[in-house]
């Protein structure tokens, strides 16, 4: 029972990280209707900046620099590439982000090489023991940080004028533009926020018990895609629920791997995708996604 509780808490913590990534993904989709396949590379960029800088300027400034770095990269992608093509066919734009992803990922994996970079986080491998349950401090920090950021984001999304502009643009771009909302600024903001959230997620994807930032980290980040999809691409609630679902499933499948040996090794890494396919079979628009309706 206590192992189950450990798996569950670890899963929720992991899920909250996926939710952070998926949230950024959904924000970009809502603001610009573009599916950002370069999201994993944004995450890798943020993690890389933190990893490189933490020796010189300390962990917290390095983390801030990482967040800022990923936000700048995101904003740059929007400004130099996506903006030039606004209003284009969405699937073509999605393919453009794949091109951007190829560029960013190639550069970052070349820089990282075969190294495993530490991010210099203050938690190390310390654990907290509550009764029979042992949890790594990093997992608790991840859960708290994600909860804080997601709450802050949702509050901002609801109450600030930035959030209102974002929601209006998501509702109807033309009307929003006629109301004086600058669509360019909205989408720039969305990309920057998504980059920043991804950088925080990069930190928690690479701390204990994972060894550190490596070229494979972006594969872990990719699991946020099924999280966003199974929740429904245009729903922030969906991103949260999807993230948690994916995280818990992955954690349980990895934890009980020995019981699932007939499915082969590494089933945990596959679990998010299996859950996604199962959900999509029943609900093609995801759990919380808007059902497809069209007026003709």
């Amino acid at each position: 029972m206590s192992t189950f509780a450990e798996f569950l808490i670890n899963g929720i913590s992991l899920g909250s990280i996926y939710a952070l990534i998926a949230l950024g993904f959904v924000v970009i989709f809502r603001a610009t209707e573009v599916v950002n396949f370069a999201h994993a590379s944004l995450l890798l960029a943020g993690g890389y900046v933190t990893a490189v800088l933490h020796d010189e300027i300390g962990f917290w400034p390095a983390l801030l620099a990482g967040i800022a770095g990923a936000a700048v990269v995101g904003a740059a992608v929007e400004f130099f590439v996506m903006r030039r093509h606004r209003g284009g066919d969405h699937s073509v734009l999605a393919i453009v982000t794949i091109g951007v992803d190829i560029l960013l990922a190639t550069e970052l994996t070349r820089r990282i090489g075969t190294d495993i970079l530490a991010l210099g986080d203050p938690w190390g491998d310390a654990v907290v023991t509550v009764g029979p349950v042992t949890i790594a401090e990093t997992r608790i920090a991840a859960l708290l940080a994600a909860a804080l950021l997601i709450t802050a984001f949702l509050v901002a999304f609801r109450y600030t004028s930035w959030g209102v502009a974002m929601r209006a643009a998501a509702e109807n771009q033309e009307t929003a533009a006629l109301m004086g909302i600058r669509l360019g600024r909205v989408s720039l903001g969305a990309w920057a926020v998504a980059g920043g959230l991804a950088a925080v997620a990069a930190l928690f994807l690479t701390v204990f018990p994972t060894p550190g930032l490596e070229r494979g980290t972006s594969l872990a980040a990719l699991k946020a895609f099924p999280a966003a999809i199974l929740g429904g691409l245009d729903s922030t609630t969906g991103a949260l629920v999807g993230g948690l679902l994916v995280g818990v499933t992955e954690s349980l499948a990895t934890g009980y791997q020995s019981d699932l040996a007939f499915l082969g090794r590494g089933i945990g890494d596959l679990a998010p995708y299996l859950v996604m396919v199962a959900v999509l079979l029943i609900r093609p628009a995801g759990l919380f996604g808007t059902k497809e309706l069209a007026r003709v």
């Binding site: 393919i95 895609f225 089933i267 996604m276 093609p284």
Partner: protein, 383 residues
């Protein structure tokens, strides 16, 4: 390229015919002159072109984003090994003759695409793209874990194909004083398969199904109203595209002579998407051009790495040829979409005085242009 030339009437037909005849002649005599490296590169390019045609039918012509193409390539490659293997290497094999194994492998890919049709027929856009991403990971998982079928991490050897008594392996055959090994013989097989693939895909695109596919891409609802069974078409195109991928997989396996699971990863799927964007979405000639470009680029950089600035041999700290080629085609994808919508095919088709056309294969009259209001926006999510 050719379709636009041919469509424009008799005026350009004669020179075009001469051009094609010359190109065909060059392709036929190349094995007598090129060395093994370039022939192998050329075969990769042919396999890539076949696969790219498949994904272009799906993504380019029907507007269904697929990131799972590598999975179907893997099904083709491993399917061939499974059907043709004789079981002597300890792996499952049915010992069927090579040609039958190849046909069955392609059919198996189509079947795999068909099994996915409950999803492929209902989802579109990003949902389908990410759902097909699942195929990659499921495929990799199976390839690494099903040792009896796939040989696990080390992959399995590919039995050579034999057709009409001719075996496509390295037993040398002297043709006009030139020793013909596996690649020389496969070159002609590749040419025939590619030609068949091109002709078939063009037939599909120019006929009724092609019109229906383009209608689904341009305006799904209007297509449905006009009586096109949208879901069935989507699923069918998915199957056809998977079969093309399977054929490309079989050819790749024959060229590699060994299939390893790592090759069929996500990077391969992205490469195929890059091919069709660079070549031109929805056009067969574009798919071929993009496939040749993306697959020859790393080989070219590899061969001439010491002569090129900024590129150095792998492991010396500089930009390795593989990375350099990824930079180049990544940048090419972005640049093509920004500055050359329609890709290489469009570039070839562009002539002065010709009105702009969304895709080279779509005459403007095929589909009604939807009014540009956001409420009926074709691919926007309703809000």
């Amino acid at each position: 390229m050719s379709e636009t030339l041919a469509r424009s009437g008799l005026r350009v037909r004669t020179p075009a015919v001469y051009g094609w005849a010359a190109a065909a002649l060059v392709l036929v005599v190349l094995p007598f002159y090129l060395d093994r490296f370039w022939l192998q590169a050329g075969l990769f390019a042919m396999a890539a072109a076949i696969g790219a045609i498949g994904i272009n039918l799906l993504t380019g012509a029907t507007g269904q984003l697929s990131m799972g193409h590598a999975f179907f390539l893997a099904v083709g490659a491993y399917g061939y090994c499974l059907f043709a293997g004789d079981g002597t290497d300890g792996l499952a094999g049915l010992g069927l003759p090579g040609w039958l194994a190849a046909v069955l492998a392609v059919a198996l890919s189509g079947l795999a695409g068909g099994v996915f049709s409950p999803i492929a027929g209902r989802l579109r856009g990003a949902y389908l793209g990410i759902a097909t991403l699942a195929l990659i990971f499921i495929g990799q998982h199976v390839l690494f874990n099903a040792h009896d079928l796939t040989g696990g991490y080390n992959g399995r050897a590919v039995p050579p194909l034999s057709l009409f008594g001719l075996t496509f392996d390295d037993t040398e055959l002297l043709v006009a004083q030139v020793p013909f090994g596996a690649v020389e013989k496969l070159w002609y097989l590749g040419l025939v398969l590619l030609l068949g693939g091109v002709v078939f895909a063009r037939g599909v695109l120019r006929g009724r199904p092609g019109r229906a596919m383009n209608a689904i891409r341009d305006h799904r609802i209007a297509a449905g109203v006009m009586g096109i069974p949208v879901a069935r078409y989507r699923a069918a195109v998915f199957v056809l595209s998977s079969m093309y991928a399977g054929l490309a997989g079989v050819l790749l396996a024959l060229v590699f002579q060994r299939t390893v699971p790592e090759y069929f990863g996500m990077a391969l799927s992205l490469e195929y998407l890059a091919m069709i964007v660079i070549g031109g979405l929805g056009s067969v000639a574009g798919a071929v051009a993009g496939g040749v470009f993306v697959s020859l680029l790393p080989q070219f950089l590899n061969r001439y790495s010491e002569a090129l600035p900024l590129v150095s041999a792998p492991g010396t700290g500089g930009i390795a040829p593989g990375e350099a080629s990824r930079y180049l085609y990544g940048a090419a994808v972005v640049a093509v979409v920004l500055f050359l919508p329609g890709g290489l095919a469009r570039l070839a088709a562009r002539r002065p005085g010709r009105p702009k056309n969304p895709t080279p294969d779509t005459p403007p009259s095929t589909t009604p242009t939807p009014p540009d209001t956001s409420s009926t926006e074709p691919s926007g999510e309703p809000r």
